[in-house]
């Protein structure tokens, strides 16, 4: 297939969390010893980010606190996830000064792809100049430094960024297919390349492939036979082939929403049900935000021993009703929990989502009580929206075993 060449930028915010913490303190990330980690969580807590300065000391960006060597005047910044999210959106807003949102793909809180193909001519700029302008604008507006990879498709841009731009003085790199044999193929171990995890590395090693080049020059048919479509994709990527287009976003088909948590100590079944109930409240809020109804609910339990179960149940009728969903999940729990084991992790999810508008009427639904329930749920959500998320909660949140309040002060498991 002939693919039309695009001009893609892969933009990454350098040491994002740590840089935000420096800038908010009026410090320069490039010569401040600062790490982002929640000191109150003890020695084993993960360090979320370190400044570029800390990296120059040879310290990796992800490590546990006890692995961190003594550095003079080290600042421990407590994570503020909400702040980072807002900052990230500010930066995304800056990208949108340059491109339309249809030409932007948000990959993570600190990474985005821009398709600038159609803007270069009117801006009368080369890709490098265009990228430079964006970098300067972000720096001017936020003080953040960006790393930019430029390529004819997403994988080339991403590889240029990950492998070269991050270590470049200019923090920018442009790659074409011709760069790959020199810049990509010698790389080893394989996990250094985006898209290859530890497991895949082991499997590829077992086939005698130790450098990226070993994969690139192998037979794609063989890789497809061995690993399916993913094998073929890896081969394509090692050869700089990627026909995905930002303008054709992937819409997941069987969408689901899940809420889960790993518990700090092991819970007995009664306390675990408390956690399930709390998670369900959160799940329903998400359903409402999504304007969706759940066609099925699922429950996953992991025991302290390591094993567990994961089961789901189809609902007679798509719903976002708390009572119905709770009954179904408790049923799942009672049916499948046959163990004296303590419970270490709980997750619940809503699957087979449907848009709320198209709900089918049913003779078996008690509409009046459903409307009342809906009104109550809505009222509760409104109170929370107006007076903060800690303004109203179940009395059970005050029980010792509840994690509700501490979770409410977190995003993605870290301090809000």
């Amino acid at each position: 297939m002939i693919q039309k060449e695009r001009t893609i930028l892969a933009i990454d915010l350098k040491s994002f969390y740590a840089s935000v913490e420096c800038l908010d303190r009026g410090l320069d990330p490039f010569n401040t010893p600062l790490v982002v980690c929640d000191k109150s969580r003890g020695k084993g807590t993960i360090i979320l980010a370190v400044t570029p300065y800390v990296k120059t000391l040879g310290i990796p960006s992800r490590l546990r606190r006890y692995e961190l060597p003594d550095v003079k005047n080290m600042i421990y910044a407590t994570p503020r996830m909400e702040r980072y999210i807002k900052k990230s959106c500010e930066v995304l807003g800056i990208y949108l000064e340059f491109v339309d949102k249809i030409d932007m793909h948000i990959y993570s809180i600190d990474e985005a792809f821009l398709d600038i193909t159609d803007y270069l001519r009117s801006a009368q700029k080369t890709a490098e100049e265009f990228a430079q302008t964006i970098a300067q604008r972000v720096y001017f507006k936020t003080g953040l430094t960006v790393t930019i990879g430029i390529g004819g498709n997403l994988i080339l841009a991403k590889l240029a960024m990950d492998i070269e731009a991050k270590h470049n003085k200019t923090l920018m790199a442009k790659w074409t297919q011709d760069d790959l044999p020199i810049k990509l193929w010698p790389i080893s171990p394989l996990t250094k390349m985006w898209g290859i995890g530890k497991r895949m590395q082991e499997k590829l090693n077992a086939l005698g492939m130790y450098t990226i080049g070993d994969i690139a020059i192998s037979n794609p048919e063989y890789l497809k036979e061995k690993f399916g479509i993913i094998g073929l994709q890896i081969w394509e990527h090692t050869n700089g082939i990627d026909d995905s287009r930002i303008q054709q976003p992937y819409v997941s088909q069987s969408h689901s929403i899940s809420v889960g948590q790993t518990l700090f100590t092991s819970y007995d079944p009664i306390d675990a049900q408390l956690i399930i109930r709390e998670n369900l409240d959160e799940l329903i809020v998400r359903l409402h935000q999504n304007k969706s109804l759940a066609g099925s609910v699922g429950l996953g339990i992991r025991y302290a021993s390591g094993n567990g179960f994961s089961k789901f149940m189809r609902l007679a009728q798509p719903t976002d009703n708390l009572k119905i969903m709770r009954m179904a999940i408790i049923q799942l729990f009672e049916r499948h929990y046959h163990s004296q084991n303590g419970i270490k992790a709980v997750s619940i999810w809503a699957g087979n989502l449907e848009t709320k508008k198209y709900q089918q009427e049913s003779l078996f639904t008690d509409y009046q009580s459903e409307v009342l329930q809906e009104k109550m749920d809505q009222a509760i959500e409104n109170i929370k929206r107006m007076y903060g998320r800690n303004s109203l909660y179940r009395a059970s949140a005050l029980l010792k075993k509840s994690n509700f309040i501490s979770r409410n002060n977190q995003i993605g498991g870290h301090r809000r």
Partner: protein, 128 residues
Amino acid sequence: MNSHRGMKKWMPFASLPEHQIYIDKMLEKRRRTAKPELSQNQKDEINQVLSRLNPGDSVIVFYYDNGHIYQIEDLFCQIDSNQRRMNLKNHQINFDDLLELEINFSSGDEVHRDVFDSELHSIHWPQQ
């Protein structure tokens, strides 16, 4: 041979649901526009049309509301000078939010009026 996975492989893998909420807010904010300033000329024009309107006229209205500009087609009922707004069959629009106003001659004036007449009884007219 091609894997044809498209943007699927570029799906965020560890995204925070809260991030999406703020992204949506940011996009919504960007969609908002400032309220356009009307020239004296444009104001006079609106005034003129307002004074020519009869109950039952079909009108096309451009108005501003909370960061967005809307275009609607509706039937004119009355002018509420106390509240400084015009009442349409399905909308109430403050004079201050009016951006453009025209009588919709193309919509089969007579037909509309017929429909409207039968509904006149249900509309509560203020004492003039």
